[in-house]
C-alpha cells in the first residue's frame, strides 16, 4: 500500500524544491534587473555614457514638459490598440471555435503563421504598404475626411474635449501633408496587426472550452442571438479576455519598433524616448527613470482595478451571506410557528 505523506516538514521541503527554480529565475532575470534600473535613477550620468555618483539630479531633470504628454499618448494609444484587438479577436475566436476541427486547426495555424517571419521585417513591409502612393494612403484620406466631417457635426465643447484628449485635431484635411506613414493611425493599425494573435489565442482557448449548447439554451429561453452572445458567451470567456487584454496592453506600452519605423515625429511614445536617452544620449540613469515612471503609471491603474475588483467580490460575498442568514432566520421562524 502506498503511504500518504502527511509529514508537514517533508511536504514543505517538496514545496520548496518545486518552487525554488522559478523563484531563482524570477530573481535573476526580473527582480535584480528591476532593482538595478531603480538604483540607476538615483545616480547621475557622466559624459562617457557611464553611471555617475549617487544623486537626485536624474529625477530633477525629469521635469521635461514633453514627458506628461508622451506618457499620456503611450497609455492612450496602448488602450486604443488593446480595444481594437479585443473587438476583432472576440468574433474571430468565436468563429474559429465553431468551425469543424479540421478547419479550426488550419485557421488557428495561419494566425500563428506571421511569427515565422521576423517582426522587424514585417513592420518594414508595412512601411512599403503605407507608402504615400499606395491604396492605403487613399483610404486614409477618405477616413480623415469622414472623421473631419463627423467632427464638424459635434458641439464645440465636445470638439475641444476630443482635441484636449489628443483624439482629434481641428482644421481641414490637406491630402498633400496628411500621409498615413508617420501618423498615429499607422502606429495603431500596425500595432493591432502585430498584437492581434496575442489577443485571439487566449480568447480562442477560452472559447474552445465554452459549451455552445448554452447558447442554444439561451435561445430556447427566448434570447436573441446577440443577447445570448453578450450575456452567456462573453461572461463564459471572461478569463480569456482578461489575459488577452494583458497580453496586448503590456507589450503595447513598451513598444518602440513600430512607432520608430512608422510613427515619424508625429507619434513618439515612451519606448522611443527611453531608446533615445539610452542609446543616442547615452544617459542610462535618465532612461531608467523614464522606464520606472512608465512602469509606475501602468501599475497604479492595474492595482486600483484589482483593489476595486476585490472590494466588489467581498461585497457580493457579504450580500450572499446576508441573504443566507435572512433565509435561515425565516426558516427558523417558520419552524417555531409550526
Amino acid at each position: 500500500m502506498r503511504e500518504v505523506n502527511t509529514n508537514p516538514l517533508r511536504t514543505r521541503k517538496a514545496e520548496w524544491c518545486l518552487t525554488t527554480p522559478s523563484f531563482l529565475w524570477l530573481a535573476v532575470f526580473f527582480v535584480i534587473p528591476a532593482v538595478i534600473v531603480l538604483a540607476f535613477t538615483f545616480h547621475g550620468h557622466d559624459a562617457s555614457g557611464g553611471v555617475g555618483a549617487w544623486s537626485m539630479s536624474t529625477w530633477r531633470e525629469l521635469v521635461d514638459p514633453d514627458y506628461p504628454a508622451i506618457v499620456w499618448n503611450t497609455i492612450r494609444i496602448s488602450f486604443e490598440v488593446t480595444l481594437w484587438s479585443i473587438v476583432l479577436a472576440i468574433p474571430s475566436a468565436y468563429a474559429i471555435a465553431r468551425m469543424n476541427p479540421r478547419w479550426r486547426a488550419i485557421v488557428a495555424g495561419s494566425i500563428m503563421l506571421p511569427f515565422w517571419t521576423s517582426f522587424v521585417v514585417r513592420v518594414f513591409a508595412w512601411k512599403t504598404m503605407l507608402h504615400p502612393d499606395g491604396w492605403l494612403q487613399a483610404c486614409y484620406i477618405v477616413f480623415l475626411r469622414v472623421r473631419g466631417w463627423l467632427f464638424d457635426w459635434l458641439p464645440g465643447f465636445c470638439q475641444q474635449f476630443l482635441v484636449w484628449l489628443g483624439l482629434a485635431s481641428s482644421g481641414p484635411v490637406d491630402p498633400a501633408t496628411s500621409t498615413i506613414l508617420d501618423s498615429e493611425t499607422a502606429v495603431v493599425l500596425v500595432s493591432v496587426y502585430s498584437f492581434l494573435p496575442f489577443a485571439i489565442m487566449p480568447i480562442y482557448t477560452a472559447a474552445e472550452k465554452f459549451d455552445f449548447s448554452l447558447l442554444e439554451a439561451a435561445r430556447d429561453l427566448g434570447a436573441k442571438n446577440f443577447y445570448a452572445f453578450r450575456k452567456i458567451f462573453m461572461p463564459g470567456i471572461r478569463q480569456g479576455i482578461v489575459s488577452a487584454v494583458l497580453m496586448v496592453f503590456i507589450p503595447a506600452i513598451g513598444s518602440y519598433v513600430i512607432p520608430q519605423m512608422l510613427g515619424g515625429t508625429n507619434c513618439v511614445l515612451i519606448g522611443n524616448k527611453i531608446f533615445m536617452r539610452a542609446i543616442q544620449n547615452r544617459n542610462i540613469p535618465h532612461a531608467s527613470a523614464l522606464a520606472t515612471l512608465m512602469a509606475v503609471s501602468v501599475l497604479i491603474p492595474i492595482g486600483l482595478a484589482m483593489w476595486w475588483k476585490r472590494r466588489q467580490d467581498l461585497r457580493g460575498k457579504r450580500r450572499l451571506e446576508a441573504q443566507t442568514a435572512r433565509l435561515l432566520m425565516t426558516t427558523a421562524e417558520g419552524g417555531n410557528a409550526s
Partner: protein
C-alpha cells in the same frame, strides 16, 4: 383543438443521405405527458429539436396551438427545452438562471421575484438560490433545469433524455418528481427517451419510433400488451417470437405451424385465414414452466411443450430461464412464490414443460 395541440404534419428531415425523420404525422394533446421512445438514431431527438426550433424540417409543417411554428426561431416559440446536459449558465446563480426567461420577457421585478421564489419552493431548492450550478449535485441541477424551463409557463416543455446522466436510484426518484411536477403545472410535456421503463411509468401516451418512423402511438399498456409490429414488441420489454403459417382456423382461434415445432394455438386477433404468415409474440412472464405438465383445468393440453433448461438467471424478484424446445429458444420469467429455497429448484439441463394459454400470445406484423 385540445386533442391537436402540437401537430406534426408529414414532417421529414434528412441529414445528407440519412433520413432522420421520415414523413411523420401525429398530434400531441394539450396537457399530456407524451413520450418519444426509440433506440438511438431513430429520429426522436431530431423531432424534438424541430419543435424547439433548432432544426428545420425539409418538408412538412409543425403546428402549435393552431399556429404554424415550422419557421419560427427558437426565441419566438413558447416552447422550452430541458437539455440532457442541463445547460445551466455557469456564470449565473441558480436564481438568475431561473429568472433568465422572465427577465428577457421584461416582466416587472416583483413578478419575477414571486415566480422564481415559487418555483424554487416547488423544486425544494430555496436554500440553494444563491449557489452556482457547479456547486450542485446532478439531481439538483436537473431540478433547476426543469424549473428554469417551466418558470414562464411554456406551452410545451421538451425534455431531451433528462435523466440519462443520473444514477439508478436518483433516476427513480426524479421520475416521481417529474410526475409530480407535471401534475402541478399541467403543461404539455414531450419527453424523449430510449428507456422504456421511464416512458412507461410517466407517459399518458408513447410514440415508439424506429428508423425515422413512428411504429406505434398508444397508451403504455396498449403498447406493451398489443404491440403492432415485431419491433415494438421486442423494444418494449422482452418477448418470444414464433414465426409461422396459419394451418387452420377454429372460431376465434387459429393454429400456427412454426417450422420444426408443434402447432401453436393462438387467439386470431387479426382474423387471418389459412396460409397467411404471422409473428406471434409471447411475453416471457406469460410462459409457465414446471416439471409436470399442467392439469387440464389449468389450461388443458394446449400449447404445452416439453423442453430442456439451457440457462437459469436468478434475479431476486424472479428467475429467468432459457429453454430449448424442438430447436427453438424460449425465454420464461418465473415469479417466486412462498419460500423459494424450500422448493425443488429447476436447474440446468432439467427436462421441463413450458406452456401458455392461447390468449397469452399476440399477433404482430411480420418484420420486413
Amino acid at each position: 383543438m385540445a386533442d391537436e395541440f402540437l401537430v406534426f404534419d408529414h414532417v421529414t428531415k434528412r441529414f445528407g443521405a440519412l433520413t432522420a425523420v421520415d414523413d411523420v404525422s401525429f398530434s400531441v394533446k394539450k396537457g399530456e405527458f407524451f413520450s418519444l421512445l426509440g433506440p438511438s438514431g431513430c429520429g426522436k431527438t431530431t423531432l424534438l429539436r424541430m419543435v424547439g426550433g433548432f432544426e428545420r424540417p425539409d418538408t412538412g409543417r409543425i403546428y402549435l396551438d393552431g399556429k404554424d411554428i415550422t419557421d419560427a426561431p427558437p426565441n419566438m416559440r413558447r416552447v422550452h427545452t430541458v437539455f440532457q446536459n442541463y445547460a445551466l449558465f455557469p456564470t449565473m446563480t441558480i436564481w438568475d438562471n431561473i429568472a433568465f426567461s422572465l427577465r428577457l420577457a421584461k416582466k416587472p421585478q416583483e413578478e419575477i421575484d414571486e415566480a422564481v421564489d415559487a418555483i424554487l419552493e416547488m423544486i425544494r431548492m430555496s436554500d440553494h438560490a444563491w449557489k452556482y450550478p457547479s456547486q450542485l449535485s446532478g439531481g439538483q441541477k436537473q431540478r433547476v433545469a426543469i424549473a428554469r424551463a417551466l418558470v414562464d409557463h411554456p406551452q410545451v416543455l421538451l425534455l431531451d433524455e433528462p435523466l440519462a446522466a443520473l444514477d439508478l436510484k436518483l433516476r427513480q426518484h426524479m421520475l416521481l418528481e417529474l410526475d409530480t411536477i407535471h401534475d402541478q403545472v399541467g403543461s404539455t410535456f414531450v419527453y424523449v427517451t430510449h428507456d422504456q421503463g421511464e416512458a412507461m411509468s410517466l407517459s399518458d401516451r408513447i410514440a415508439v419510433m424506429n428508423r425515422g418512423k413512428v411504429e406505434q402511438l398508444d397508451t403504455p399498456a396498449k403498447i406493451y400488451e398489443a404491440p403492432k409490429t415485431s419491433f415494438v414488441a421486442s423494444f418494449i420489454g422482452d418477448t418470444n417470437f414464433f414465426h409461422g403459417e396459419i394451418v387452420s382456423v377454429e372460431g376465434d382461434y387459429c393454429f400456427i405451424q412454426v417450422a420444426g415445432f408443434p402447432q401453436i394455438k393462438a387467439y386470431n386477433d387479426k382474423k387471418l385465414s389459412v396460409g397467411q404468415e404471422i409473428d406471434l409474440s409471447v411475453r416471457p412472464e406469460k410462459i409457465r414452466l414446471s416439471f409436470t405438465p399442467p392439469r387440464p383445468e389449468e389450461g388443458a393440453a394446449i400449447n404445452v411443450f416439453p423442453s430442456k433448461v439451457k440457462d437459469v438467471v436468478y434475479q431476486g424478484v424472479y428467475t429467468k430461464f432459457w429453454v430449448t424446445s424442438s430447436g427453438l429458444q424460449i425465454q420464461s420469467l418465473q415469479p417466486h412464490s412462498r419460500f423459494l429455497l424450500d422448493q425443488e429448484p429447476i436447474t440446468w439441463n432439467d427436462e421441463v414443460f413450458v406452456w401458455w394459454h392461447p390468449d397469452d400470445g399476440y399477433m404482430v406484423e411480420c418484420a420486413k
